[in-house]
């Protein structure tokens, strides 16, 4: 059953600052009896860290295995981490791609691999009844430890990736996002897009992928998150099986620090579109940043709370300039970006861009009002149960907490820490951390004349 989601603000974008959960969700009692989530943590025999939440209500299991192997580890081969991940389910051990697809889908399981700047992650969802569970886990273990990087499959995946990259070149938002990251990060590994470039994808060899896999897919570099209908004993056994064939390896050295921008920039990219996509950004904050909560709550008010944010009010609600406008911090291992954006009809692009930056400046100068802060706190704390209600939510949070070494009791304290943020802390943090005169700005569009070639045929 599909829905035409011609809806209000799909602009909520990705929830890039992940809220954390308090974990009462797994109790049958409901109401306000907030209990501590039972996040259990241990290490496998080979040293992989495990975070587990037992969720006995539905006979299903989610597993997410995360490696410190994001695109920031690509070196001079952009797309390496991503292509390695793409090849995992193209063949493993004695199984080819057809076998792997059959094994999983014959039991109603699904497996996916993905890469962002910090991590490579492989996710499995399966029923917990047998033989489904054993088959799914055996398949996951094989895919992680014994991918074959079949040469024919690699050429096919490479060709299709190149087509995907060409499609991205026709998307103003993809073009803008890639240009913005380059402008924000310069020579830092976060500058390049995880999907790679046509040149680098074209040049990758099978040996590149195999050696990336050997180097990074190891237990000392792995975090296993699990949520599902298992006992602790069962979960322990399962984590052992998942990691049994992986090497112990060594964790990689920390990524280099990110430098602040020293000057602002504006890069207009001509593009045949009716709208101009405007993106602005600079290095923001890392996971575990001491300013995390003031920046998080402050951004929620500025551009992180959908229809009621300041940007939405100024740009959409008051003036009808854009369907979507937003700001977010995406905390990473190193300073992840702070990004603002919108898209608007070409002839309004300058007005909208100026307004977006002015709104940011005013927020930095004045900070939030007491009412705005109160409303934001109510939204964040009152909505907390929603964000931790499903296994699908919890597995994402477990992966982040584990990967970034956030304390396990962090979640219990989340609402208290939101409540304790003051106007002055927000103003102070934004003044120190956000520099509107040193923003990298990218615009994509402006070429108002639609391509119409009917007469030229």
């Amino acid at each position: 059953m599909c829905v035409d989601r011609t809806s209000l603000h799909a602009a909520r974008e990705r929830r890039l600052v992940w809220p954390l959960w308090i974990g009462l969700s797994l109790l049958l009692v409901g109401g306000l009896a907030q209990a501590t989530p039972e996040i259990q943590s241990w290490q496998t025999a080979k040293g992989a860290r495990v975070l587990f939440v037992a969720a006995p209500e539905i006979p299903m299991l989610d597993v997410k295995v995360v490696f410190d192997a994001g695109s920031a580890r690509d070196g001079d081969r952009p797309g390496l981490a991503s292509m390695t991940a793409s090849m995992l389910d193209e063949g493993a051990g004695d199984w080819d791609a057809d076998d792997l697809a059959d094994r999983l889908e014959n039991i109603g399981a699904s497996l996916s691999a993905g890469v962002d700047r910090d991590m490579s992650a492989v996710a499995l969802r399966t029923l917990t009844q047998q033989p489904a569970l054993d088959t799914a886990v055996e398949t996951l273990a094989g895919v992680l430890a014994q991918p074959t990087f079949d040469p024919d499959a690699l050429e096919r995946v490479r060709r299709n990736r190149l087509i995907g990259l060409r499609q991205q070149q026709a998307s103003p938002r993809s073009v803008g996002r890639k240009a913005l990251y380059r402008a924000i990060y310069g020579t830092h590994p976060y500058a390049s897009d995880p999907s790679g470039t046509p040149e680098s994808i074209g040049a990758l060899t099978r040996e590149d992928l195999m050696s990336f896999h050997r180097r990074y897919y190891s237990t000392s570099n792995a975090l296993i998150a699990m949520v599902g209908d298992l006992t602790r004993t069962e979960a322990e056994a399962l984590a052992e099986r998942i990691t049994a064939d992986l090497p112990v390896g060594t964790p990689p050295a920390p990524l280099p620090e990110v430098s602040d921008l020293t000057a602002g920039s504006l890069e207009p990219i001509a593009f045949p579109a009716s709208q101009t996509t405007i993106l602005a950004g600079q290095p923001g904050m890392r996971r575990g940043d001491p300013d995390y909560f003031p920046l998080y709550v402050g951004n929620h008010i500025l551009g992180g709370s959908g229809l009621v944010s300041l940007l939405m009010d100024e740009i959409r609600e008051k003036r009808g300039l854009s369907y979507s406008t937003f700001s977010f911090f995406m905390p990473l291992a190193r300073s992840g970006p702070f990004i603002l954006g919108l898209q608007t009809r070409n002839d309004q692009a300058e007005e909208a861009r100026i307004l977006m930056i002015q709104t940011l400046k005013r927020f930095i100068d004045q900070g939030p009002t007491e009412d705005e802060l109160t409303a934001a706190k109510k939204n964040l704390t009152g909505g907390f149960p929603l964000r931790i209600a499903s296994n699908g939510d919890i597995i994402q949070y477990l992966a982040v907490i584990g990967f970034y070494h956030l304390p396990l009791d962090y979640l219990d304290r989340f609402n208290d820490r939101i409540e304790s943020v003051t106007r002055e802390q927000i103003r102070d943090a934004f003044a120190r951390r956000v520099h509107p005169d040193r923003l990298a700005i990218v615009t994509v569009g402006g070429q108002t004349q639609r391509v119409s070639l009917a007469s030229e045929r």
Binding site: L24, S25, M60, E105, Q129, I163, Q275, E317, A375, E456
Partner: protein
């Protein structure tokens, strides 16, 4: 006040040991508002959804997009809750809210902590009958919708193909119009059009209220009576829908837009669950879509992406649950070294194979397993469960189909799949659209008729 509780037991198909899914309870207010409650106490949250039987398929030429613009205006205030306050109230309660418009429905929802249902009911009841629809707010919101149209359709080549394809595929059916409306209709839309539309369709006897989550059924019914009970019913005239005449031969079109890769979209006229001559036909069509495209082990991935490597991507889709007859869709992007012609031929060959050879029992068994598993996973998604109930009711089907759906699919035979393929997937019922990529630098390129495999023109 009459109450009818209809607890529905979950059906037999689930594997042994899988606990039953929560029951659904039904009740109707005197003013005609239908209420469905699905208690689920796994987490202390709820979703409250109001579904209206109104969408773009109810619209006539000249005012297309009016249902969707009205959806936007539903956030622009009533006398009691002036513009802007609605979203603020929900936000301060920690709620998530949004709305969506489709061809057959317009739906509004709030996701909240489970002790806050009243907030949702108070606001939804108010805007069901008391929307302000101010001129100033309308003028601004119309601009927002035009920007939305640019973002979603005009600047997205594949969306643009879908829009123009639909307009050609349907000769008369309102499914030929885009949900967001044609740009020229948006230009001439007046607030008076919205007022009339609102009066016609926004009433308790044209709505379904669905609540799922950590709630007590009795309490939900009581609250609904308190807030929605006083609302007056309207006399709702069922729309005179223009029917789709039988298609008299294959149709083709080309869409030129700035892009880097071509794209193929094909659609065969098919019945929906609401109008099928044989009740099993829509389920056989859904099974057919899964045989071709139900995962990496299905025929398209196995044969066209991996095996013969004709497609970089290729898909098949069909939705049984629509108010009017729709389309069985295929789409795809050719792999390097192949063109749209190769891809279309390969898709048509797969269709012919279905007609020629019965699908294997192992393929059917795999899909049955996937469908049953999906039903289990779905219990992790409260919002989606509620959505299914509302969707079915708005298209005139019984919500109980949400629970029997799996059984209907599982009962489909290889023979039935062959029968629907032969009956519906034939070229007289087909429309084919191709995207002809135009250069991104805005300059014309030299195009040859052969670059599209000979399909470069509307026939």
């Amino acid at each position: 006040m009459q109450r009818r509780f209809i607890p529905l037991l979950f059906l037999s198909l689930l594997p042994f040991g899988v606990p039953a899914a929560p029951a659904v309870y039904e009740h109707q207010l005197a003013n005609g508002l239908k209420i469905l409650v699905k208690p689920d106490h796994r987490a202390p949250i709820l979703t409250s959804q109001v579904w209206y039987r109104i969408g773009s398929s109810y619209e006539h030429g000249g005012i297309t997009g009016v249902s969707h613009v009205l959806e936007h205006m539903m956030f622009q205030g009533t006398k009691r809750h002036p513009s802007g306050t609605f979203s603020r109230i929900v936000a301060e309660q920690g709620g998530e809210e949004n709305a969506f418009t489709g061809r057959d429905y317009t739906a509004y929802y709030q996701n909240l902590a489970s002790d806050r249902l009243e907030v949702a009911f108070e606001l939804e009841a108010d805007r069901m009958r008391n929307l302000t629809l101010g001129k100033k707010e309308f003028a601004k919101e119309l601009e927002v919708v035009k920007e939305e149209r640019r973002t979603r359709t005009d600047d997205d080549p594949q969306s643009l193909v879908y829009e123009r394809f639909s307009a050609v595929a349907y000769d008369a059916s309102p499914y030929g119009n885009p949900v967001i409306g044609w740009a020229s209709d948006l230009d001439q839309l007046k607030v008076e059009d919205l007022r009339a539309w609102y009066r016609l369709w926004y009433a308790p006897n044209n709505a379904i209220l669905v609540v799922a989550g950590d709630v007590e059924t009795e309490k939900v019914f009581e609250l609904a009576e308190t807030y929605f009970g006083p609302l007056k019913a309207e006399s709702i005239a069922p729309p005179k829908t223009r029917g789709e005449p039988e298609q008299l031969g294959e149709k083709r079109l080309t869409v030129k837009a700035p892009a880097k890769e071509p794209y193929l979209l094909m659609g065969y006229k098919t019945p929906s669950a609401a109008d099928a001559s044989e009740p099993w036909e829509p389920y056989a069509l859904e099974m057919l879509a899964s045989i071709l495209d139900g995962g990496d082990s299905a025929r398209f991935s196995r044969d066209l992406v991996r095996g013969r490597q004709i497609a970089a991507s290729v898909g098949a889709s069909y939705s049984a649950f629509e108010r009017l007859p729709g389309l069985f869709l295929f789409d795809g992007v050719p792999a390097k070294g192949h063109d749209l012609d190769d891809l279309e031929r390969a898709i048509r060959a797969e269709i012919e194979r279905i007609k020629r050879e019965p699908v294997a029992e192992s393929e059917l068994e795999r899909i049955r397993t996937q469908v049953v598993a999906a039903k289990v996973y779905e219990r992790d998604e409260l919002f989606h469960q509620a959505m299914q109930l509302g969707l079915l009711e708005t298209i005139g089907l019984d919500w109980k189909l949400a629970e029997t759906y799996v059984d209907h699919l599982a009962a489909v035979t290889a023979d039935q799949i062959q029968t629907v393929a032969k009956k519906y997937l034939n070229s007289d019922r087909l429309t084919v659209a191709v995207l002809d990529p135009q250069p991104l630098d805005g300059r014309s390129r030299v195009t040859t008729p052969m670059s599209l495999g000979g399909h470069g023109n509307v026939r």
